[in-house]
């Protein structure tokens, strides 16, 4: 068998092995690249920076563990930035597992890095509610209808930072981290647009291209996949160098990501070359058979 035929008929598991190695080695040797925020990400960062201390930010966790490698770094960076700016965080989840993800972020970021933040005054966790866009539609007019109590079962009337909050139109910004439906698109359609509230968010790479059309009029900014997370982390470190010492999984994971992309590009190029060689030879052989006949 010729070389090009061997490459053409290569077992898919060999490609899997190469991809695995291209991810494992940069992880073990901690290869990472310089990141900088693109305008679409920088716009979210600038908006958070421009908000005065005490401004209200609704943060919706609409993802689950399968998409956490992409979205958890974004959520971490958001919350870190909002806490640094002394913004009031209203945390909710439209995905059942989003509540667990939110709890994890609260534990890892707010409680560990900002122990002075007081629950009910600086941040509140209202937990998960089923209903998707129905929930957004409801809290657009009345928060209490959807969230009579917080995650601990405390009536929202008893929570200090819920006083004066009638609906999401009282929010200065809606930040969302989503992995699908309901997610950022629903927040734009049912929250941001009718309520005239700025909406920004981070989404999985798979859903990012579908959200670009909403930028910049309906969507303040967008973080697409791990790259978006790394860019936000880079912007945060640039503005607040004290966070350079913290773990930044977005930037850290972009190393293996970049190497894996190079390997995939290599296979695409090799695959195309073998395809064209094969096609040319088949044409030649067909022409030769025609002459022989």
């Amino acid at each position: 068998m010729r070389l090009y035929q061997q490459i053409r008929d290569i077992d898919r598991r060999v490609i899997f092995l190469f991809i695995a190695l291209s991810v494992i080695f940069p992880l073990l040797f901690q290869i990472s690249f310089h990141e900088y925020a693109s305008p679409i990400v920088q716009r979210i960062f600038d908006k958070v920076e421009s908000l005065p201390a005490g401004a209200k930010v609704l943060l919706s966790f609409d993802y689950d563990p399968p998409s956490a490698p992409e979205l958890h770094p974004m959520a971490t960076a958001y919350v870190r930035h909002c806490c640094e700016r002394n913004l009031k965080l209203y945390i909710i989840a439209l995905w059942p597992m989003g509540q667990t993800m939110a709890n994890q972020i609260i534990e890892e970021v707010i409680e560990e890095e900002f122990p002075q933040k007081v629950y009910g005054i600086d941040y509140v966790n209202l937990g998960f509610k089923s209903g998707g866009q129905g929930v957004i539609n409801l809290i657009l007019s009345d928060f209490e209808q959807a969230y009579p109590v917080d995650i601990n079962g405390t009536s929202i009337d008893q929570i200090e930072m819920m006083k004066g909050v009638k609906n999401i139109q009282n929010m200065n910004l809606i930040l969302n981290v989503s992995a699908g439906f309901p997610g950022l698109k629903e927040w734009i359609l049912f929250g941001g647009d009718p309520g005239q509230i700025p909406v920004a968010g981070g989404v999985t790479a798979v859903s990012a291209p579908l959200l670009y059309p909403y930028y910049p009029r309906q969507l303040l900014g967008l973080m697409g996949g791990m790259k978006g997370a790394a860019e936000y982390e880079a912007a945060l470190i640039k503005r607040y160098p004290q966070y350079a010492e913290k773990e930044h999984f977005g930037i850290f994971r972009m190393g293996p990501q970049a190497v894996a992309h190079v390997v995939i590009m290599f296979f695409i190029i090799v695959g195309n070359i073998t395809f064209f060689i094969g096609r040319r030879r088949e044409k030649k052989e067909a022409a030769g058979e025609g002459v022989a006949k």
Binding site: I19, V23, P69, S130, V149, T154, M226, R253, P256
Partner: protein, 258 residues
């Protein structure tokens, strides 16, 4: 035993030996510790799922079924305690002993009888479990479909159609106080031209010939570029998930990443 089986046994043997060396030298947490047990279970379940890349096998099937079962149970429990209980039961029956114990602050509220409507509709949905009266569930379904369709129709029309058309109606030449922005102008031309040619491609009432056919071809190119970008993003997303799992295996489990 054939050659392939021997190869696999050797690989498994080396892997176990590697794990034993790391365990005995204290370089990774043992499965007998509280924290270690969870990590070991998660690591093996990850390996079970990844084993599908080689070929389908019982380990993969086990992990897959476990995931589906646990997810379904989790969704149900979360639905009951975060939505059904505080939003319906506690509002209808605030004096109920369970409400007093779990949500004491709601126990003093008067009952809100209007919530009987969603309760009845919810119960009607459950009639699907009884074949003789299963048709009653259609009433609740009709309510869900009707309200969702009405809600979505208005919002999608305003935000996904009218607002998107408005976003496309932009000046061809981008100019500001500093003069013409050539980058912005190029971007606007691409946007308007791309939408125009894309729409022409989907216009089937006229034969795609001449200038019309040319614009249609440009439309195909625009669509192909869009699909390429979509594919690129999909690859990025999948690799990101792989990176996350590998970081867990080599970091949290094997502790090989400092």
């Amino acid at each position: 035993m054939n050659r392939r089986a021997v190869t696999w046994w050797v690989i498994f043997g080396l892997l176990i030996l590697f794990l034993l060396v790391r365990l005995t030298t204290g370089r990774m947490n043992g499965f007998w510790t509280t924290q270690g047990l969870g990590v070991w279970i998660a690591a093996f379940l990850t390996l079970f799922i990844l084993s599908f890349l080689y070929q389908d096998n019982p380990f993969y099937k086990f992990a897959e079924h476990l995931f589906v079962g646990v997810s379904a149970a989790y969704w149900m429990v979360m639905g009951i305690w975060t939505t059904l209980f505080p939003n319906l039961i506690a509002r209808l029956f605030p004096s109920f002993s369970l409400v007093k114990r779990i949500l004491p602050e709601m126990a003093d509220n008067p009952p809100q009888w209007r919530f009987l409507i969603p309760l009845v509709l919810g119960l009607l949905l459950l009639t699907r479990l009884l074949p003789k009266v299963g048709w009653l569930s259609r009433w609740a379904l009709a309510f869900i479909i009707g309200t969702t369709a009405g809600l979505n129709f208005i919002r999608y029309l305003q935000s996904d159609f009218i607002a998107q058309v408005r976003s496309t109606l932009i000046p061809l030449v981008s100019a500001g106080p500093q003069g013409i922005s050539w980058g912005g102008t190029f971007s606007n031309l691409i946007l308007i031209g791309g939408v125009f040619c894309g729409l022409i491609y989907f216009f089937f009432s006229k034969e795609h010939k001449g200038a019309f056919g040319g614009a249609s071809k440009v439309g195909i190119w625009i669509l192909m570029i869009t699909f390429g970008a979509q594919f690129g993003y999909t690859v990025m997303g999948r690799i990101a998930l792989l990176v996350g799992r590998m970081q867990f295996l080599f970091g949290d489990w094997l502790r090989m990443i400092p």
